[in-house]
Structure formats: structure tokens, C-alpha cells
């Protein structure tokens, strides 16, 4: 995107006033979005954003300046601004020679989705709409989105880093509202990967449309959810979003270093049930959270966070790693060139266990099965979380019985992690819909096998059932 000679000049300018490290980040992003609502294409958007940012580290301060102009003069101006803002007073440093880094992580695309013409994409969304509507006459509204992103990034820094990554994301999401006798129920899900047209061979948007419509209709006859503390079984795959929100964020090195995380200073300690192993792995081929290099040019890696209940490591970016005098784990990510990197998860999951998932259900006399979770929110200082269950069922005498709606799961992540007493053999990553917000958005994957938590608070509106189960 920019010749390495110019990158060198910019890095030099960034260090002129004596910063510890300077970095240039260049990004070129193309997007294509289609939204279909009520059977019609409501939005068709194509666009291109590009720009660059210069970051200068000086002691504990990080200064950043960015520009949407990639001319040499604009980038040099950004470098000067960052360097001045860093308030550094040390002697200028010598630049290390730039060496291009290689990383074999397979996130390549076979057939770019852009080879499919726009009309065919529009037709595909219409087909999804038809499939969803024909599931039931109760389906009252369907909205479907498709997103195609091509993001090319270049990173250079004054310690010799030169890395390039080329990322292609494709994603389909669908929300279906079903209506019966004044009751409205909405169900939502999506599929996606770092992929081109070949995504459609492994994950069908039409099957997705069918499943989501069926789930919305199923929940129309659901009873109000029980309220109270009970045994909760959480589904495999997307269920891992709970670990992501309630524990994963607390393992990010910025929160840890500040001391705001509940896991600060606990490496080597027992922080989870001995059957829990949790991993962040940015190297899984094609996954939504995978990277060849992170947005600081560090090769992506597999990091064991918790092994058999013992805390092993955190999730690091360059800034926190430098402060701690260690290597980054390749988790420095940024939403766009307008953002500074921070430690972020990639594909994060609880590893496979030993229990037959059916045996897990059979083990519960009275409890709750969370089959589809909505989004979640967690307070990273305490690890308290709340999750909406968009599809939930009662477990009675070891069997999954009636659907219940309006349930929320709430509790404390670190405590729940200690309590987990059964983990299934049915490990799966989610279907590729995860989008994590931490002031900036990042694409992530989550995953887990079926997991049993012996006691968790279920918030619902039906107090009578809650009373029975609580008793």
C-alpha cells in the first residue's frame, strides 16, 4: 500500500523526539452490505474506507494520530503529531531494518464472494426470506442481512516488524418474528467465516433461515420462564459466549494490568473447576476470529488461558506485553485505523470434556436448559453477567420438556467457572456470528461443549414455578 521506504520515513519521524517505539498501520477496507426487510431489499451499500495511523510509545503514554489520507505528507504529519503528543524527551532512537514476517495460518479465500454478481446475492436473500416464511403461517416478519468485508492491513514498527494481512469476512444473519394471538416472539442467528463463496458449501443460509423461523414459532407456545436458582445446562457452540463475556474479558491484559480484573495476580492459582480448560486460539483455519497477524503485526497464536482449572496466561497486546517485559500473544486488535489496538479475544472456548451430553441432561431432576442465548453483558471488575435466553426449556426428571421464554441467566462468571461439574464430549465453535464490543467492535468466535452449572440464577416472570424449583 505504501512503499517500505516511506514506512521507514514515517517511523523515523515518529521517533524523532525520542519515543520508545513507533508504529505505522495502514488499512484498506471494502464492504458490501445487503439488508432485506419485509421481503424487500431495504439497503444496498458498497464502500471503501482507507487510512493510516501512527502510534508512538513513550514510557506509559501512548499517542496516536490517524488520517484518511494516505499521501506521504499526511502520514508524516500524523507521525509528527503522535510524536509531539507522546511528550517524550529522550534521545532519538535508531530504526531496526524492516523484515517481512511470514505466518502460515490458513485464512485464505478460495473463491472471493465478490465474484458472485450483485443480482445473485439479492436473489439469495429473497430465497432465505421465502424459506423462513414457508415454515409457518405464524411468521409475521423476516429481516435478513448479508455482509462482505475485505480488509487489507499493513503494519510496520521501529523494531523491524513488517507484516501484511488480508482478511475476507462473509456473514449472513436473520431475525424472524412470529405472531400468534397477540404474542410476538423473535428469534435471531447467523453464520459466517473468513471465507469466500465456499462458505455456502459448508454452511447453508437456507438451512439457517429454516432453523431460525422454526425456533421463533416454537417459542410462541412457550410458558413464562421460571425465576430462581436452579441447575442450568448450557448448549454447546454459541453457549461459549457466556465464558467469553463473564471470564474472557477479565483475562485481557489491560484489565489485568490495571488491577480491575478479578484475575489479576492469579497465574498459577486454581480459578476454575479442575475439569475446565479454556483456550484462545487465533490460528484456527477460516474462523471468524482468526488472524495471520494481529493489528500490531504479531503472529496470531494459541494461548492456553486456563488448564485443568489453573490460570496459565492472559490475553496480551504489544503495549501490555512491553510493560510486563514479555511477548504479545498476538491479540492486539483494532476496529479500524481510527482506533488504537487493545487486547482482544480471537476464537475463545472451553475445551472438550468427558460427559455424554445426553447424560448431562439426564443428571438433572429439575432445571433449565439454555439452548439459544441472546447477547450478553458482564461487569469485568466482578465478573457478574446477565444473558438473555432466546430459546430455553425446562428439564424435568432428566428430560428436556416445555419451552419457556423471557428467561435471563445471571450470576458471577468466575464463581460459575468454579462450579461447573460436567462438560460434554460435543465440543463445537459457534456458527460464526460473534461480534464483541469493548468500545470497539471485533469479530470473534466462541465455543464450548455442553456444560452443566449446578446452581445459577434464572430470572423470569413466573414466580410460582420458581418457588417450586427453588424449594
Amino acid at each position: 500500500m505504501i512503499p517500505t521506504e516511506i514506512a521507514r520515513k514515517i517511523l523515523d519521524e515518529g521517533l524523532k523526539r525520542g519515543g520508545d517505539l513507533s508504529e505505522v498501520y495502514i488499512e484498506d477496507r471494502e464492504t458490501f452490505n445487503l439488508d432485506l426487510d419485509d421481503g424487500k431489499i431495504e439497503r444496498a451499500v458498497r464502500g471503501n474506507d482507507r487510512g493510516g495511523g501512527v502510534r508512538v510509545f513513550y514510557q506509559d503514554t501512548t499517542a496516536y494520530a490517524y488520517t484518511d489520507d494516505l499521501e506521504e505528507i499526511a502520514l508524516l504529519e500524523a507521525a509528527r503529531a503522535a510524536s509531539e503528543a507522546s511528550k517524550s524527551t529522550a534521545e532519538g532512537r535508531i530504526l531496526v531494518d524492516l523484515t517481512k514476517r511470514e505466518n502460515p495460518v490458513d485464512v485464505g479465500v478460495k473463491t472471493p464472494f465478490s465474484t458472485l454478481d450483485e443480482k445473485s446475492k439479492v436473489d439469495l436473500l429473497h430465497q432465505m426470506d421465502e424459506v423462513a416464511r414457508k415454515q409457518s403461517s405464524y411468521v409475521s416478519s423476516v429481516n435478513i442481512s448479508m455482509e462482505e468485508v475485505h480488509r487489507a492491513v499493513w503494519v510496520y514498527n521501529s523494531e523491524g516488524v513488517w507484516a501484511e494481512d488480508d482478511r475476507n469476512f462473509l456473514e449472513f444473519t436473520i431475525g424472524v418474528t412470529a405472531k400468534k394471538n397477540g404474542t410476538l416472539q423473535r428469534s435471531y442467528s447467523g453464520i459466517g467465516a473468513q471465507s469466500g463463496l465456499e462458505l455456502l458449501e459448508s454452511q447453508s443460509p437456507l438451512v439457517l433461515a429454516e432453523e431460525v423461523a422454526k425456533a421463533a414459532v416454537r417459542m410462541l407456545d412457550a410458558r413464562p420462564a421460571p425465576a430462581g436458582e436452579m441447575t442450568v445446562v448450557i448448549t454447546n457452540g454459541w453457549g461459549g459466549v457466556l465464558f467469553h463475556e463473564a471470564c474472557g474479558h477479565a483475562l485481557e491484559a489491560d484489565f489485568v494490568a490495571k488491577g480491575t480484573s478479578i484475575y489479576s495476580g492469579l497465574v498459577g492459582e486454581q480459578v476454575a473447576s479442575p475439569i475446565v480448560t479454556a483456550i484462545d486460539d487465533g490460528t484456527i483455519p477460516k474462523r471468524r476470529g482468526s488472524l495471520r497477524f494481529d493489528d500490531e503485526g504479531t503472529p496470531s497464536s494459541r494461548t492456553v488461558l486456563i488448564e485443568k482449572g489453573i490460570l496459565k496466561d492472559y490475553i496480551w497486546d504489544l503495549k501490555e506485553a512491553r510493560r510486563a517485559g514479555r511477548d504479545s500473544t498476538g491479540n492486539g486488535r483494532r476496529e479500524t485505523f481510527r482506533h488504537m489496538p487493545m487486547p482482544r479475544m480471537t476464537n475463545t472456548y472451553i475445551d472438550v470434556g468427558t460427559h455424554d451430553p445426553e447424560e448431562i441432561i439426564r443428571s438433572v431432576k429439575h432445571g433449565f436448559f439454555a439452548k439459544q442465548l441472546g447477547g450478553g453483558q458482564a461487569d469485568f471488575a466482578r465478573g457478574d453477567f446477565v444473558f438473555t435466553v432466546t430459546e430455553g426449556y425446562l428439564i424435568e426428571d432428566g428430560r428436556v420438556t416445555v419451552p419457556v421464554r423471557g428467561a435471563t441467566l445471571m450470576g458471577n462468571g468466575p464463581q460459575a467457572l468454579k462450579q461447573i461439574d460436567m462438560i460434554g464430549t460435543d465440543f463445537a465453535l459457534d456458527s460464526g456470528r460473534g461480534r464483541c464490543g469493548k468500545g470497539q467492535w471485533a469479530r470473534v468466535s466462541v465455543g464450548q461443549p455442553t456444560v452443566r452449572v449446578p446452581k445459577l440464577m434464572v430470572g423470569g416472570t413466573d414466580r410460582e414455578i420458581g418457588g417450586q424449583i427453588g424449594a
Binding site: 426487510d37 419485509d38 424487500k40 431489499i41 439497503r43 444496498a44 451499500v45 458498497r46 464502500g47 471503501n48 474506507d49 482507507r50 506509559d60 503514554t61 501512548t62 499517542a63 496516536y64 494520530a65 484518511d68 500524523a78 503529531a81 503528543a85 450483485e118 439479492v122 409475521s140 416478519s141 429481516n143 418474528t177 410476538l184 416472539q185 423473535r186 425465576a227 430462581g228 490495571k258 478479578i262 481510527r338 488504537m340 447477547g375 450478553g376 453483558q377 458482564a378 461487569d379 471488575a381 466482578r382 457478574d384 446477565v386 444473558f387 438473555t388 421464554r405 423471557g406 435471563t408 445471571m410 458471577n412 468500545g439 440464577m457 430470572g459 423470569g460 416472570t461 414466580r463 420458581g466
Partner: protein
């Protein structure tokens, strides 16, 4: 560069091809500073620009954007939008609005002093916010993301119906989380302030709010499950108002996705509840002379003394309903076409002080923080959140409460609003939503 001229150029080229065209330019600067433990941690400073073109061909719409204003890129953008309009679906209600009269009144949405203020002064502000939080109580051990932010933008909008306008807008915000610790207990609370004008922001207040609430919630425990009254702080009530507004947008209504569907003209709330969407609020963070489609902004009484009177429209939903747009088209960035969204949307304040509301509660929960992600559902009308706050008995604060859920149908909550405070506040998080302190009776609290 002359953005208006460039925009007019594209508009006339597209119009010559038989299309309706709208061009949006946005040019601005922003500064963001984060401090930690008395030092600058992050400082970011930048110029930002972007343009977007919307093309409508026989009721089918295409949109394209770019951050590159070079002639080649601008040309490519409007042509891509044109191509997309060709493959989209026709909808007879899609079209640009006719231009309307823009009132000359000064909405006070631009503060020229922000661009003049030295970075050092902005840093000092952020540091003072942090000091105020840490200094509130020695149990406040840390702050998180203590941030100062400002931006300064100029918007240009031109369309083929003959509209041409521009305005300047500033926004300044500061916020932080304060973290309190005592023994095994930890709690965290938000402090936030935002305005169009620098002089409206008070560092002491922002820091103190975070510190005070973190201390008040320290050591919270669940209470037994029961039905009781709740008092929502303005921050918490704003969250409810945010979701309520989604059920009051005409697009959602027209798709059948609102629990208030078919209730027009009915009493949907207690008679002390009046909801207003006001795009012309003086110093309002979402105020502007015209909306994202060039429709003059206005104030719309959505619920008047409990009665549902109007819903929010852009030109598309209005044409579908045979009504006038309420000026509610907004733009999240140059990367997206206009969409229907509230402007400054708020519950009108009443007479009571928050203290008087709290002291009138016999038994209930003063809610200072809620967590939700989908538990408030504008389609089904369900409301279910995890809550923290302080227990009240006979008007007195008792113990802090944590790990409880609050649940009730939203239409019941609206009917059971029994007090509205005089302390209206806006929270600019997912839009600009405001509320005073409110009391709601008959909530289900699920706890121990």
C-alpha cells in the same frame, strides 16, 4: 475544497441519468484522551472525512461511500450506488423528500471554543475527573477508561429535489468507571457528562457521581423474591426509554414489530408520563436544523399525559402512512444511508425532587445500575434486567442490593409509573435518551 459544489456536481450527473440523488459530506476533527492514575495513557488526535451517495431509481435504492475525495473515487462511488439501485427491489414509497422551510433559530449546537482549547487543558480536565472519583472515598481504588472526548464536524447535504444545506456541530463528553473495593467486595459505577458546549461540562460532578455510586453499591447482596416498588435513577430510566423508543418508530410499527401496535389514541401509560422527541432542543446532542434527509427538524409529542399520540417517521414511513416525516432520519456515519431513529428523546420532567420520590417509598429498590442484552424487548414488550441498587424501607436507604432481576411487561410498567422527578438528564450512549428519576410500582424482583 468546496464540498457543496462537489456534491451538486454528483447530484446533477445522477439526475441527468433519471435518478434521484442525495450526497452527504462530513468533515471533522476529534480528540480522545484517556488517563490512568494521574497520567495520560492514550491520546488520539485526528481529522476525519467521508462522503456518501444515495441513488433512487424507480423506488429502488443504492448507497455507496468513501473516505477518499479524489475525483476518481467520488465518481466511482456514485456509479456503484447507481448500479446497486438497479439490482434492488422497487418500492413505490421510496423517494427523497421535498425540501421544507428551515427555521433560522440558533440551536446552539456549535461551540467554537473547543477547537481553540489546548490539548493540555483537555488532559487537565480528564485528570480532574479521575481525581474527583478517586478522592471521593479511600475505598475507590481505581478508575477505568477515564476519558475525555470531543469532536467538531461540518455536515453538507445536497439532493436532487433542490435541497442544499450545511451546519457545524460540536460534541464534548467525559466519562469513567470508578471501582470500589472493601475486603472481598468490589463494585463499579459509571460517571458521565456530555454536551454540545465545553462550559456545560463539570469534571467534579462526573468523577463524584462515579465514586459515590460505586461506594453506595459496595457489598450488595440479593433480597428475597417479591413484588415491590422500584425507583429508577435517570441513567437507569434512560435505558428503559431507549428501548421504549424502538417500539415507537414507524418502521417497526409498519412491520408489526412493536408491543404498542394498534394502540394509537389509547392511554398506554399513567397520566404523568409524557414522551417527547425534540430535534430542536437547544444544546441537544441530537439537535440539528435538518435531519439526514434534509427534512426540517421538529418536536413531536409521542405520548401526551399517558396517551399515545404519534410515532416517529422518516420520509419513507411517512409516505407509506400518508403522513408527514417527523424529521427522524439520522445518519450513524457516512458509511450508512439515513435510517429512522429518535433525536433527543425524553420523558418530560415533573415537579418532584428525587429525594421526595425516594422518601415516599415504603418498601422497594432504588435502582442505580441495570444490565441487559435483549432482556428489554420492544417487540414482545418484555422487560427483564439484572439490577443493582439500594434497598428502601419507609423512605430510608437500607442495605445495597445486587444479583436480583427485575421483570414486568413494559405496558404494565408504563401504567404503573407513580412519580416523575424534576431531574431530567440525557445519556448519550446508543443515541440521545433522557429521563428524570421515576418510580414504578408492582415490579417483580427475583432474588434469593
Amino acid at each position: 475544497m468546496d464540498e457543496i459544489k462537489l456534491a451538486q456536481d454528483i447530484v446533477s450527473k445522477a439526475a441527468n441519468q433519471g435518478a434521484e440523488a442525495e450526497v452527504y459530506f462530513r468533515v471533522g476533527r476529534e480528540t480522545e484522551i484517556q488517563v490512568d492514575q494521574g497520567k495520560v495513557e492514550n491520546l488520539s488526535h485526528a481529522g476525519n472525512k467521508g462522503m456518501g451517495v444515495r441513488i433512487i431509481l424507480d423506488g429502488s435504492e443504492g448507497y455507496a461511500y468513501t473516505s477518499d475525495f479524489s475525483p476518481g473515487s467520488v465518481e466511482k462511488s456514485w456509479q456503484s450506488a447507481f448500479e446497486l439501485a438497479k439490482v434492488g427491489d422497487q418500492d413505490p414509497f421510496r423517494g427523497l423528500p421535498e425540501p421544507g422551510e428551515i427555521a433560522a433559530e440558533d440551536l446552539e449546537i456549535f461551540d467554537g471554543t473547543i477547537a481553540q482549547t489546548q490539548i493540555a487543558e483537555k488532559i487537565a480536565f480528564a485528570l480532574e475527573v479521575e481525581r474527583a472519583a478517586l478522592g471521593f472515598d479511600k475505598r475507590i481504588v481505581l478508575t477505568n477508561r477515564c476519558t475525555y472526548f470531543d469532536h467538531d464536524i461540518t455536515v453538507y447535504l445536497v439532493n436532487s429535489k433542490g435541497f442544499s444545506g450545511s451546519y457545524k456541530q460540536t460534541r464534548i463528553a467525559s466519562y469513567l468507571n470508578a471501582i470500589a473495593r472493601e475486603g472481598e467486595f468490589t463494585s463499579m459505577a459509571l460517571g458521565i457528562g456530555a454536551s454540545t458546549h465545553m462550559a456545560d461540562l463539570n469534571a467534579q460532578e462526573i468523577g463524584t457521581e462515579a465514586g459515590m455510586n460505586a461506594i453506595r453499591m459496595l457489598g450488595g447482596k440479593p433480597v428475597p423474591s417479591q413484588e415491590a416498588s422500584v425507583v429508577f435513577s435517570p441513567l437507569v430510566a434512560s435505558q428503559l426509554i431507549t428501548f421504549l423508543s424502538l417500539a415507537l418508530k414507524a418502521d417497526e410499527m409498519q412491520m408489526g414489530r412493536s408491543f404498542l401496535l394498534g394502540r394509537m389514541g389509547e392511554d398506554v401509560a399513567s397520566d404523568i408520563v409524557s414522551l417527547l422527541d425534540n430535534g430542536r432542543l437547544r444544546r441537544g446532542l441530537a439537535s440539528a436544523p435538518f435531519d439526514a434527509e434534509g427534512v426540517p427538524s421538529r418536536a413531536t409529542k409521542v405520548i401526551d399525559e399517558g396517551m399515545l399520540q404519534a410515532v416517529l417517521h422518516d420520509s419513507y414511513t411517512a409516505r407509506k402512512a400518508g403522513l408527514q416525516s417527523t424529521g427522524n432520519a439520522i445518519r450513524r456515519s457516512h458509511r450508512q444511508p439515513p435510517e429512522l431513529f429518535p433525536t433527543n428523546f425524553y420523558l418530560q420532567p415533573g415537579e418532584m425532587t428525587p429525594e421526595a420520590i425516594l422518601s415516599g417509598v415504603e418498601r422497594g429498590l432504588y435502582v442505580l445500575n441495570t444490565m441487559t442484552t435483549g432482556g428489554i424487548n420492544p417487540v414482545s414488550g418484555d422487560y427483564s434486567v439484572a439490577a443493582r441498587g439500594i434497598w428502601i424501607e419507609n423512605g430510608e436507604f437500607m442495605q445495597p442490593v445486587n444479583e436480583v432481576t427485575l421483570a414486568a411487561p413494559m405496558d404494565q410498567m408504563l401504567k404503573h409509573v407513580s412519580a416523575v422527578g424534576n431531574d431530567l438528564r440525557f445519556v448519550p450512549m446508543f443515541g440521545v435518551f433522557g429521563s428524570p428519576t421515576i418510580r414504578i410500582d408492582g415490579m417483580t424482583i427475583a432474588g434469593k
